[in-house]
Amino acid sequence: MRYAIPVIVLLGLLALFAVGLGHDPRELPSPLIGKSAPAFELAVLGGEGATRVRTQDLQGRPVLVNFFASWCAGCQEEHAYLMQLAADEHAPLVGIDYKDAPADGSAWLAKHGNPYQQVLLDLDGNTGIDWGVYGVPETFVLDAHGTIIYKHIGPMTVEAWNRDIKPRLQAAS
């Protein structure tokens, strides 16, 4: 009985540390979850002249917005899996090529394959800032109304897809 309180305190601390240290400090909660996707008006990669795509144009169906770049190692890491998702699951992927030279982006997609239904260009990175992107790749899940319902930070993985993305996508459609 004498030791009850110290033992309880110790267990409490251990539980606190287990939760705290289990967090990845690189994964920040986005304040944009539950809000409308920030407005953009972007050129299309390889698109004709003055075609612009706006945030509203993504509405009407759930969609995955994936920020990527040809210079980004993590994007290469997830790319094969994105290709697989596009082929097997018809994942509604929209790519935003972040701070990338269009020629580099095109060459990269030609080399590794293009899993996107549409690729938009964020040349100056301002759309990335508006969306709270701080390290590509990042993937946003939008419902049919254009509301951000989830954000995945870092390369897409099978676990993340099955646990975090797919159920939300299904619930939204």
Partner: protein, 155 residues
């Protein structure tokens, strides 16, 4: 040695020739601030976290995102935005984590006052512990008996 040097050179050359695409950092016109605005800009930056290298502030970081954000903040200040508006712009996008001193609100009470709470718990524990120890260490002294003992000895 010659062979080694040749190999090293070859390695360097192959690195230089490897097709590497780099992040595009657009050249943007410099933003001129008044001395007061410049002062506010300088004062604001050390309190903002660079999200790429999280232990550096936006004042120190050379990450491309930090450059972009510094530029954005400069242009906001040039257009007359208040410190509050700049911070709101950033927290709307990146969350409170970008502030090294997050606002005191319901969600951050524990963060701000947790240490005080721990200190209070520690002080209470210390107080109770020392009181108990005193009670054990200092048994009541029977003064009459003590005097008698001393008197006996003096005799």
């Amino acid at each position: 040695m010659k062979l080694l040097r040749a190999l090293l050179l070859l390695g360097l050359f192959s690195l230089a020739l490897a097709p590497v695409s780099a992040q595009v950092q657009a050249e943007k016109p410099a933003i001129v601030l008044t001395p007061q605005q410049e002062q506010r800009f300088e004062a604001l930056l050390p309190n903002l976290r660079c999200l790429v290298c999280q232990n550096e502030s936006l004042a120190d970081s050379q990450a491309p995102l930090a450059l972009d954000l510094r530029y954005e903040i400069r242009s906001m200040i040039a257009k007359g935005a208040s410190d509050f508006q700049v911070k709101k712009y950033l927290t709307d996008r990146y969350g409170e984590f970008i502030l090294y001193r997050p606002a005191v609100n319901l969600r951050t009470y524990l963060l701000w006052f947790g240490p005080l709470l721990l200190l209070a718990i520690g002080l209470i524990a210390l107080y109770r512990f020392t009181r108990r120890a005193q009670a054990v260490a200092a048994p009541a002294v029977d003064e009459a008996a003590l005097r008698k003992l001393l008197d006996d000895q003096a005799r």
